[in-house]
Amino acid sequence: MLAYIVRRLLYAIPILVGVNLITFALFFVVNSPDDMARMQLGVKRVTPEAIQKWKAERGYDKPLFWNAQAEGVGKATQTIFYTKSVRMFAFDFGRADDGRDIAREIATRMNPSLAVAVPVFVLGLFATISFALLLVYFRATYLDVAGVVLCVAMMSISGLFYIIGGQWLVSKVWHLVPISGYSEGLTAGKFLILPVIIGVIGGIGSGTRWYRTIFLEEIGKDYVRTARAKGLSERLVLFRHVLRNALIPILTGVVVVIPTLFMGSLLIESFFGIPGLGSYTIDAINAQDFAVVRSMVFIGSCLYIVGLMLTDISYTLVDPRIRFQ
């Protein structure tokens, strides 16, 4: 098991190098640092000195890949690629355009993100599984058909509608919770309840449909027929046999998203003014802060790779027939 994890970690390195190369190519090769400086400083009437100053402040005044003027190892290290990419592997992200330390910012913004994302994930999973089980219990009846139609309709509604509509109805018309904002500690509850509910509702349509097909697949198997032949009631069959076995594909399927919960939700955080990583990313995109966007890409990729690894491990934990290879 340990050897397997180590091998997977080693396998992650080329992928992270690839991610870094892609982002680097996107940010620096497609557009020269001069273009970026002109974009930031305004396209017209910008002096070469201002561009040089902008580049020097951000460390973009070096060659891209190979510094012929430097000595020894410096030929490779005194470059933008090295200073901007390789240091990321040590989680050294440098500073944002407003001068703040990105790593520090990420550490403080992680908690609000998790405070929204974890309840949405847990409650969403619980709600979709119960809803799907309900539909399966009433399968091939009008209730089932109506439920599936409702799911398709809910999937067809834009996520923006849930957020805007929910804010309008609950906060503006009913005055139940504040429209947006965040605070530390226990008082955060009143700010978090609406985003969490909206996040759960937004995901219920597609989730229910997906789990319903998993349950239906499971219900056609032989062991279910055996359980019924023993004379078990339909409810016992569903909860004791079908649910337990269907949890294997469901859990292994959701494991991959668990690490990415740290990244937060872009839309919900920015609409509800929650100072998490999602709104941090959106602000960086709008302010065209390249350093922050690049750091978030890197962290997101790392978390995704961790998720893939956890998925593989969880397969072997729930299903002993699968071995590490």
């Binding site: 991610v19 557009n31 834009s158 996520g159 805007i164 503006k172 995109i285 890409v297």
Partner: protein, 375 residues
């Protein structure tokens, strides 16, 4: 009048031509026809397909672009307006030009906000074209119905061209990885795992930011604002395509691995068929149902994604009329008292109808062509 063919128009026409050609070809293939008979078997599918057809017709009319001629002046060569119009604009000319001063409610006769009237006192000034705005007008007084109809083309283009752009790469790499195997398989797998591991929104954001820099620094490439917006729309499709081909590629690779061991493929190999011929003749046709399902399933998600991306600021050009830009412009107006709800409602309703029809149609296609889909 001088016709203008934007790149997205050309691709959209190509797409429609390919669809019609494919349908005509498919009619002669018995197994495909059987699938389509199953698709059309439900009334629900027929209704959703008709709705989609109406949307596509609007999009098609909106893709016939032209530049109108400016009034002739003596001794000068004829000149054309810089504004690119479409056949839909020409049809909706009264809607496009009958603008009010600012917000007005659906079918209202007065403006939405009180003003100082010419005859003295404060009150609601009468509209210039009372009762003609079915969905009201927006902040700058444009008719909301006109904006929604114009949004349809943007949504359709994002939903279809993205898949069209990514399809060749996904199919080619998927089949080659599955059939050839070895180090080529490793390289292709590495490629899509790497792309997949970058969070989609962030990759799109990074690419769109970079594209903006390119477009801004090379303003000379585009003759009109419409061309610039069009380039940005196409680039967005390409970027969305790059982030979304990996799923289909992995699916096709897995299926090819299975097909490769089938007896008819082995027989073809035993008869000395070259790999390229086997891939084209025997593997590709047996993957087409997966491709078809992927095209229709992706469509609705992409239409919804456009609205979200435009809200985040990494979607279409802010001057392009789309559901996303409409929602973005109108979302703060719910806070007004009394609130302005009609542009949001119109955008959400049209988007809902389009996506719902697409979802229902996609389900029917999947049920008919996917042998594993049950329930």
């Amino acid at each position: 009048m001088k016709p203008v063919l934007l790149w997205s128009d050309a691709l959209f026409f190509l797409l429609i031509a390919v669809t019609i050609g494919g349908a005509w070809w498919g009619r002669q293939q018995d197994h495909l026809r059987a699938g389509w008979v199953r698709v059309w078997g439900h009334r629900r599918t027929v209704v959703s397909a008709s709705v989609l057809a109406v949307f596509f017709a609007i999009g098609l009319v909106d893709s016939l672009h032209y530049r109108s001629q400016l009034p002739l002046e003596e001794g000068k060569p004829p000149a054309w307006s810089v504004e690119v119009l479409s056949a839909l604009d020409a049809l909706l000319m009264p809607l496009k030009t009958n603008t009010e001063k600012t917000y007005s409610a659906p079918l209202a006769t007065e403006l939405f906000a009180k003003e100082t009237l010419e005859e003295g006192g404060r009150g609601f000034p009468p509209l210039k074209y009372p009762g003609t705005h079915l969905f009201g007008t927006d902040k700058v007084g444009q008719d909301v119905l006109y904006l929604t109809l114009k949004s349809i083309r943007t949504g359709l283009l994002i939903g279809t061209l993205t898949t069209l752009i990514m399809l060749p790469a996904a199919v080619l790499l998927g089949i080659v990885a599955g059939y050839v195997g070895g180090w080529i398989d490793d390289v292709i797998q590495y490629l899509y795992t790497t792309l997949n591991s970058i969070p989609g929104v962030l990759l799109i954001a990074a690419a769109v930011l970079m594209m903006q820099v390119i477009i801004d620094t090379h303003a000379g490439w585009f003759a009109t604002a419409a061309e610039r917006a069009d380039a940005r729309l196409l680039a967005l499709c390409a970027i969305l395509g790059i982030t979304s081909w990996t799923g289909l590629c992995r699916l096709l690779r897995g299926e090819t691995l299975k097909l490769r061991e089938m007896e008819y493929v082995q027989a073809a190999r035993a008869f000395g068929g070259r790999p390229l011929a086997i891939m084209l003749r025997h593997i590709l046709p047996n993957l087409m149902h997966i491709v078809l399902i992927a095209i229709v399933m992706d469509f609705s998600g992409l239409v919804l994604a456009e609205a979200v991306l435009s809200y985040v600021g990494i979607g279409v050009d802010p001057n392009t009329i789309s559901f996303g830009t409409m929602i973005n412009a109108a979302r703060l107006e719910l806070a007004r008292e009394p609130m302005v709800w009609w542009s949001l409602a119109a955008a959400f309703c049209f988007m809902f109808v389009l996506v719902l029809a697409a979802n229902l149609f996609a389900d029917a296609v999947r049920d008919a062509f996917d042998p594993r889909a049950a329930g």
